[in-house]
Symmetry: C2
Subunit: 304 residues, 2 copies
């Protein structure tokens, strides 16, 4: 990737690369019922920041110090976006958040029906695990590294990770009283997949165990900062830039960081988490730490 | 496993071994919301024939000719049961088949609620991919074989496999007119996961590419025979032995093999598929083909 461009441009370039690859990541030679393929692609192509796959690419590049590693990392970057997309499709279901719109588009089940949305989510989740072995088959990474990435993903996206966070969120609705409970939810619902993204990139780039630990810490911290920033933007953000209504958390009586500790303390918390995240990167002594440091800052400064 | 016992006893012994391992396959050290753990275990422990995991073990033993391979194959056998279980939990949902009972027990969503059943299914599916790398970490199989098994499972359980079959079934309800359409549904909805089970066992046992192809053919054929036999039992079976009402397909206007081609021709078809399956095994020249041959016969002769 171009070293000179600003972080926002860098992330857009990553997103473009990822979107071009996502489009092709369901083999056209596969005999898949047409409606299922459409339902899967509908949500895959529904946009978003593509932050998680960009973190896979950025972490791989940071560790290896060479942009060529991006090709090897691409199937894994796509895998994490498949997981993220399935989680949104299932979250939006009537039995869950019952949302009609996401990013200004009708949600999957509003277009394809509830049964198809459940199955399209299942298929997206399953296909993530088809993409990771591809990275090994293309020769970019060894089988042992690919297998470690499969194991990480299954843990961090599964019961002790993202799904567990989603369950805690659902069970805790309106009953959350402590910042610790809220932190548990965000750490698992949001941070685990972000931590997976950077450690997977790190593994592809050849990180040591210590570097992987530091990447995981960076991931957890920016994930939490990202989530608190989301809560803040819901209160004081610009509806046009956000592409969604503000104050929705208040209307739904959702317990958030600003609700529990106030806006100023929430902002300070975002700042602290960002600094900690950056310290981990500096401590890890990567060849090209620049983008990971910039991303940590960008997530705090963003307005959407 | 004991060489002398009859196939029914052998399969019961496999099921016992598998159930003992399934109980422990969600690490107790993992911090998982209690309700989620309960919901996952509820359906995992709800019984069933455990046919798919038994096929993983039997195929591994057939190829390697030594019962010791069963230990190496066990995590993969459990993985396939996690996948099968998730598919039943999601199939039973109100938006899908809307079933209140399965194997005489309340379905997952009737006990834990719809949202939890969706998430428990997601977590079961994801955890299957955590179990396969374990087989490699325990040293029973190499990373490359484990990765090939991950890739197979993601394909055969995903959009071009089991989920695709489920979608075709859902879209085709009452509109199916040809045996080819029905075959497509069963091949993907049922046979793909059975074909996965035997090829995964074969990979663990050290099968050649040709042997893997023959195992896949065996799996597809017994899977299809199994499904047609299910349709036949629904018409002429004994409710007590089946543990469910007969004639449910007729009541639901479900298009089945007996509906399209009659009971006698359906029975003949089961017989033909069973013979073809057995021919594949004989052609493959395995060290211990006995159990796989017996299983093919057993599936036709069973009354539940």
């Amino acid at each position: 990737m171009n070293e000179k461009v600003a972080i926002k441009t860098y992330l857009s370039q990553c997103a473009e690369l990822i979107e071009a690859t996502l489009k092709q990541s369901l083999p056209s030679s596969w005999d898949i019922p047409e409606q299922l393929r459409k339902a899967m692609l509908y949500s895959l192509e529904a946009g978003g920041k593509r932050l998680r796959p960009a973190l896979v690419l950025s972490a791989a590049e940071a560790v290896q110090g060479n942009a060529a590693v991006i090709n090897a990392a691409m199937p894994v970057a796509c895998a994490v976006e498949f997981i993220h997309t399935y989680s949104l499709v299932h979250d939006d279901l009537p039995a869950m958040d019952n949302d009609d719109y996401r990013r200004g588009k009708l949600t999957n089940h509003k277009v394809f029906g509830e049964a198809m949305a459940i199955l399209a989510g299942d298929a997206l989740l399953t296909h993530a695990f088809h993409l990771i072995p591809q990275a090994a088959r293309q020769g970019g990474i060894g089988a042992e590294i690919a297998l470690a990435i499969v194991e990480d993903l299954a843990k961090l996206a599964g019961a002790p990770g993202m799904v567990g966070g989603q369950v805690a969120d659902m069970l805790g609705e309106q009953g959350i009283t402590s910042i610790l409970e809220l932190e548990y939810i965000h750490l698992h619902k949001t941070s685990d997949l972000i931590a997976f993204s950077v450690t997977a990139g790190g593994r592809i780039g050849g990180a040591t165990e210590k570097q992987l630990d530091l990447l995981a810490r960076y991931g957890r911290n920016i994930g939490l900062a990202f989530q608190i920033q989301d809560d803040i933007l819901d209160l004081i953000g610009d509806e046009k830039k956000l592409g969604k209504k503000t104050n929705s958390d208040l209307e739904q009586n959702k317990v958030t960081y600003p609700f529990l500790i106030g806006i100023e303390e929430s902002k300070a918390q975002v700042e602290r988490l960002t600094q900690e995240a950056k310290s981990s990167i500096l401590e890890a002594d990567f060849k090209e730490p620049g983008r990971l440091l910039e991303i940590a800052d960008y997530l705090v400064q963003r307005d959407h």
